[in-house]
Symmetry: C2
Subunit: 314 residues, 2 copies
C-alpha cells in the first residue's frame, strides 16, 4: 500500500509516493509559493493526484511544514519567514485530494520521526535530532516519544546561547544563538571574514575556483588548509556547546545530525566530540554523535512515516 508524502519547504516542495518498505516510488519537485499558501496547497494536491494516477492510489498522506504545527488539529500555526499563520492545512488538502487520513507535522520533527522509524533511531529510545542547515533546528525523542512541549515549540536548539563574550546577532533577534554561531550561514560568514582578513586564504579560494562559502571552505579544509580548518573548528566548538546543553538536560543515547552542513560532518566531528565530552558530566559520556542515516529526502520520508503510524501509536 502506497502512502502520500508532501515535504513543503521554505523554497521547494517535494510530493511523493512511498511504498511499505519506505522507498520513494515516484516524486515531483516544484518551487514553494510563499506568497499564497492556499494556492500552493492546491498545486500540491494536483501533484499528488497526478502521481497517484500514474503509480497507484494512496489512502493516507503525511505533510511536513517549515513552521510551528498543531499536529492534533493539522493546523500550521506560524511560519514567520513566509508570513503564514493559522492555516488549516489538513482541511484544505482533504478537500482537494479526497484523502481522509492526513497528518501534518513540523519538518524537523518529521525528520526525527523518519530517523526513528527508518534510520539510526531504530536503535535508540532517547535521541536528539538536529538539522544543521541555513539555520539550526531540533527535535527530541525521549522514551520513544517525540516531545512537543507546551506550545508545539520543543527542540528549539538553534537558539541555545553558545557565545556570550562576542555574540553574533541571530535572525530571531537574539545574540549568540547556536543558529548564529554554528549553522551553515555562520560557516559562510566566518569564511568571508577569514577571506577578508587573510588575503592569502582569499587567494587560495580564488585559485581553486571556490566560492567564499561553507562549501568552498570545506574543499580547502579537506586539502589541509589551516585557515579553512580553523573555520570548521570554530563551528564545531559552537555545535558541541549547543549539543552538550541538550545532552545535560535530556541524557539521550545519541545525537543525530542532518541538514546540508552534515556534508562536512568529517570536518566537524573531532572537535565537536571533544567539546561535547568536555561539557557534559561524566555519567553522560556514552552519548553517540552521528550523521543521519537518511539522505536528502529525510523530511519526505518523515512525512510518509507520519502517514503510517506504527501499531503502538495507531
Amino acid at each position: 500500500m502506497l502512502v502520500g508524502a508532501l515535504d513543503i519547504g521554505g523554497t521547494k516542495t517535494i510530493a511523493g509516493l512511498i511504498d511499505g518498505q519506505g522507498r520513494i516510488v515516484a516524486q515531483r519537485r516544484f518551487a514553494t509559493d510563499t506568497h499564497d499558501l492556499y494556492a500552493h496547497l492546491h498545486a500540491c494536491a494536483a501533484a499528488l493526484r497526478a502521481l497517484m494516477r500514474d503509480n497507484g492510489s494512496a489512502e493516507r498522506l503525511g505533510v511536513t511544514m517549515p513552521g510551528m504545527v498543531d499536529e492534533a488539529r493539522g493546523v500550521l500555526l506560524n511560519a514567520a519567514f513566509a508570513g503564514w499563520r493559522d492555516v488549516d492545512v489538513r482541511a484544505a488538502l482533504a478537500q482537494q485530494t479526497g484523502l481522509a487520513h492526513i497528518r501534518v507535522e513540523n519538518d524537523v520533527n518529521a525528520c526525527a520521526l523518519a530517523e526513528q522509524r527508518l534510520g539510526h533511531g531504530r536503535r535508540y529510545r532517547h535521541f536528539i535530532w538536529m538539522t544543521v542547515s541555513t539555520g539550526v533546528g531540533g527535535a527530541v525523542v525521549a522514551d520513544g516519544r517525540l516531545l512537543r512541549g507546551a506550545w508545539h515549540c520543543a527542540g528549539e536548539v538553534g537558539h541555545i546561547k553558545v557565545e556570550y563574550a562576542q555574540p553574533e546577532r541571530c535572525p530571531c533577534g537574539g545574540f549568540g544563538c547556536l543558529e548564529a554561531q554554528g549553522s551553515g550561514s555562520a560557516i559562510t560568514r566566518m569564511t568571508r571574514e577569514a577571506a577578508a582578513t587573510q588575503p592569502a586564504f582569499a587567494a587560495r579560494l580564488a585559485e581553486a575556483g571556490l566560492p567564499q562559502d561553507g562549501i568552498g571552505c570545506a574543499m580547502l579544509a579537506r586539502a589541509g588548509d589551516a585557515a579553512a580548518l580553523a573555520v570548521y573548528h570554530r563551528a564545531a566548538v559552537y555545535l558541541g556547546r549547543g549539543i552538550a546543553a541538550c545532552v545535560n538536560v535530556l541524557n539521550p543515547q545519541a545525537v543525530v545530525l542532518g541538514g546540508g552542513v552534515t556534508g562536512a560532518f568529517d570536518l566537524l566531528y573531532p572537535e565537536l566530540l571533544k567539546t561535547v565530552e568536555m561539557s557534559i558530566i561524566g555519567e553522560l559520556r556514552g552519548v553517540e554523535i552521528m550523521k543521519t542515516a537518511l539522505g536528502y529526502e529525510a523530511a519526505l520520508l518523515g512525512a510518509a512515516a507520519l502517514a503510517k503510524p506504527p501499531p503502538a501509536e495507531a
Copy 2:
C-alpha cells in the same frame, strides 16, 4: 492511610509519616551516616518503626536519595560525594521494615513529583524543577511524565555551561557550569570576592554582624547595598542563562525553583526573568518562573508522593 517517607540527604535524613492530604503527621531528623550506607539504612528503618509504633502503621514507603537511582529496581547506582555505589536500597529497607511496597527515587526528581502532585505542578503538564542550593540540580516533567533519560541522568541542568570567557571550575571537573556560576556556593564565593576587593563592602558586612556568605549578602542587598545587589544580579544572569537553555529545548509552561537559594528569590527574580526573556525565542515567552509552593520538606513530601502513585501510574 499513612505512608512512610524517607528523605536521605547528603548531611541529614528525615523519616516521616504523611497522611492522605499530604500533611506530615510525624517526623524524625538525624545525621546521614555517609561512611556506611547499610548501617544508615538500618537506622532509617528503626526510625520508621518507631514512628509507626507511635502514630499508626503504613504499608507503603517512598525513599529519596542524593544520587543516581534506578527507580525500576530500587537501586542507588551512584552518589559520588559519599562513595555509594550499586546499593539495593529497596531490598535492604524491605527486609528491615517489613514493608512490601517501597519506591526509591533521586531526591531532585522526588521534589519535581511533589511539586507536580501537591504544588504549582498541578497546573502544568510541562514544567522544569530546579533545586538551587549548594549545587544546582534539575528534573523535567513533559506531558505530565518525569523524563529520566537513557541512564537515569536527565535534568543535569547544573552542568549547562553559562560562562565561556571567564569560567569557574565546577566540582564536576568542568568549567563554567551553572552550578559553578549561579549556585548557593557560587553566591558565597562572589560575596567573598567582593569583600576582598571592596573593603567598604566587607566593612558593611562586618558592621551589620553578617557573615561573608550568600545569606549575609542577601541581607545587605535587601537594604539596597549596591555591591551586594551586584552579586545577586550576576547569579541571576547565570541562572537565567541556564534556565533559558532548558526552555528553548523543552518549551515548558513553567520553571519552578526550590532549594535554599530561593530564600533570595525576590532578589534574583527581576534580572533572572529579563535574562530568560532575552535568551529564548519569542514563541516561548509565556513561560512562568516561580518559587516552589512547597517548603523545606519538598523532598520528604516527594518521597510520600512516590509511595502513593496516582491512579494513572498505579
